[in-house]
Subunit: 322 residues, 2 copies
């Protein structure tokens, strides 16, 4: 993956410049807060994917950089709202905007970044881009709401869990990939293939992220372990565990969820159960399965440096380093 | 105004039907919360204006009803976020969505309604509608952020205050009026005139609303008096008062603002000062001035029942009944 970052370094630098240029609100507060969150060490995976897909589809112009920066605006807007929704104090080791300036500011700067992005996007006058992005935004909000309505409900099915994941995380990554194809004026089949590719790696990414929440030591992700258990978010390793543990263990699990543990012995007990029943392994294997599915959608394209880069990014989505 | 509601009753009923039809998320929580806020007794002023402007510009089709319902979605999304930002417990005498379901739900249903509206809007494939509405949304968020950054700052100018008002309230009303002209395929001059008309009555409405916050008894607006003083929002009557009161009064005013009074003797003292210096009268006169400006923009149009209805609505914006 280091090689991929290096190979597309100039494009990514251009995205950073574009992100800064687009801001420029006359309200100082907007610029300060937006700069804080936009510079908080995000990996720019969505911009990278958009550019890679554009190149794969034969594009050699510069519109992909602007569109990539706008996708990052939308992603950032959702992070601002998510942090308020999750009561998060830290993101990637830094204080959240809500923690520093209050939730009011986080909500409104999120609204601002989102609507600012839409303003630029409609300026492209491309119906596919308009529809694809507005659909993605609707699905993200709907996915977050599904997750909220499933809170503390460990009886949801794996299918329902995967739909939440596809909506809240897959949809914007899928849109980024499709828009790469659109900007290259690719045929519908290529657009659809890259959309499906993005959807599958997006799901893979979120499933892996949910799994690492139980497996990762504190440092690697810059956030604490067991957040989802504490928040009552039921994710794949927990669903697997519930399906395979004994009745007595399932009962105690329900009690633990009720009490909302926070990094204490109960979390360790849950993690040890997950290890015993292979729940973490199962969930990671599921994530890797989505990566494989994703790669199949690339078969439509001839081999190229961009195709190989997309395959590397697909693997990276489920690695511990993202 | 009663006659106007009655004359356009069928159109407004169609808007209500459309508002209900558009909803239909598969997530029950979304429908419940959205229905709560969408049915909370809003006057549908923006939909009415869009329809009146469309008719004034000669439109006889049905697209105005759908667009009117989408404008109401966007307005509702901003109400949901504003109530979270303002820590509001009640709106028009009913509990807010944040109060009933938590701020998380209010934020996300706001995001959902907004992005759902954008999805429908881009389906119209009209560049003017796309640009006009995305600009309005950007300005609304920016206006709210300006207001937040001016909090507790009584040294802002009247010009700065009016810019906040134009952005946060004027822009969506202006967009509603312009879109009425767009749907009627009116000439640019007519589109601009209705945009300016909407902008001016929007400002008039907000200035009157801000003034009535000091003047209105609790019942009439379904909310308590002196909210802005308590929240540190500096509005026109306060700006006028600060400019005309004595140094000693200005000093005490600063102390009162610091303490954030809540319906106690200090608010009564501020209101009595405003009455003595004519601040409430001045602010209401300013609001009425914007109504006069608005009406001038209607000169472009020949006399008709729709034009007279728009003039009535313009006056209604600064009345105590809205």
């Amino acid at each position: 993956m280091t090689e991929v970052w290096e190979y597309y370094r100039l494009e990514l630098v251009a995205v950073e410049d574009q992100i800064r240029q687009n801001l420029g609100s006359k309200v100082a507060l907007v610029n300060t807060v937006a700069a804080h969150i936009l510079n908080s060490g995000g990996k720019r995976i969505r911009p990278l994917l958009l550019i890679l897909c554009a190149r794969l589809a034969g594009y050699a112009g510069r519109d992909d950089v602007l569109l990539a920066s706008l996708i990052e605006y939308i992603h950032t807007a959702t992070l601002l709202h998510d942090d308020v929704v999750d009561h998060a104090e830290f993101r990637r080791g830094r204080r959240t905007a809500g923690g520093l300036w209050g939730n009011q500011v986080a909500i409104l700067v999120g609204d601002y970044l989102y609507s600012k992005a839409i303003c630029h996007i409609v300026g492209f006058r491309d119906q596919d881009v308009n529809e694809c992005l507005s659909e993605a935004c609707r699905k993200m909000a709907e996915g977050e709401l599904m997750q909220l309505s499933y809170k503390d409900d460990a009886s949801i099915s794996e299918r329902e869990y995967l739909k939440v994941v596809a909506y809240k995380t897959g949809s914007l990554i899928a849109a980024a990939c499709r828009i790469g194809a659109v900007v290259a004026d690719a045929d519908p089949a290529f657009r659809d293939a890259l959309f499906q590719f993005g959807q599958a790696i997006g799901v893979a990414f979120q499933v892996a992220d949910d799994t690492l929440d139980y497996a990762a030591p504190r440092e690697s992700l810059g956030k604490s372990q067991g957040n989802d258990l504490g928040e009552g978010n039921v994710t794949l390793p927990l669903l697997h565990l519930r399906r395979h543990c004994t009745d007595a263990e399932r009962l105690r699990l329900a009690e633990v969820m009720e009490k909302k543990p926070n990094g204490n012995g109960e979390l360790a007990w849950v993690v040890s159960l997950m290890e015993r029943y292979g729940s973490i392994g199962y969930a990671m294997a599921t994530a890797r399965g989505f990566v494989r599915t994703a790669k199949v959608h690339l078969d439509l394209f001839e081999d190229s440096v961009h195709k190989r880069a997309l395959q590397v990014v697909a693997d990276y989505m489920v690695s511990r380093d993202h």
